[in-house]
């Protein structure tokens, strides 16, 4: 499937660790927490999907 750029809507330690181990995080999602009605995202990253 290849790589995907995505902003996570919640922090997930497992996803974060996988991202760090497998890829280099590109940049943070610039979110103002008070303006996101979903649980805010912590970073943007590239994940490989199977």
């Amino acid at each position: 499937m290849g790589s995907k750029k995505i902003c996570l809507l919640r922090f997930d330690f497992v996803l974060a660790a996988r991202a760090v181990v497998r890829h280099t995080p590109r940049f943070l999602c610039a979110w103002p927490p008070t303006e996101a009605w979903v649980t805010p995202t912590f970073y943007e990253n590239i994940f490989n999907f199977p």
């Binding site: 995505i6 902003c7 996988r18 497998r22 943007e44 999907f49 199977p50």
Partner: protein, 179 residues
Amino acid sequence: MNFKVLLFAAAGLLAVILLFYPPDLARKGARDGLAGGPVPAPSFSLHALNGEKIHLADFRGKVVILDFWATWCPPCREGIPELNRLYAEYRNRGLVVIGVSLDRGEPEEVRRFLEQRGAEYVNAMGNEEMFQAYSSLPGLGKIQGIPTAFVIDREGRLQKKFVGLTRKQTFEAVIKPLL
């Protein structure tokens, strides 16, 4: 000494778990999850940024791309021109693109943002009810990140879920047979 060995063993075990643990986001079933066939798309009623109220039922007979996004999401912003091009090319064949903003700010701010970016397709402010409906579809997994897009066929059935930034040609491969 024994403590150090245990510590290294624990760290190694943790690393292996983290590498192979399959969270929803990476699970194949959560990505498109439609191996069992298309499922009905949850109905919704949203306030479009042009002031109109839109319902999924309004688009019966059209192929709909429903794109969850937000202004603070860089890959979502990168996806706007992709959706624009897709919409421009296929709107006459029955394609509708609906952007669903997860921003909590004023709709006017989102509208201005889209105007600056030249978004041609319909956009609306999302709400939690709709988000939860599309986040609890059997076999599709939660919406864990954005952009996430759903392709809905002319009969109102979900045909595909795309997680992350999706390019025009990837959408095309799915929508062309439906148009």
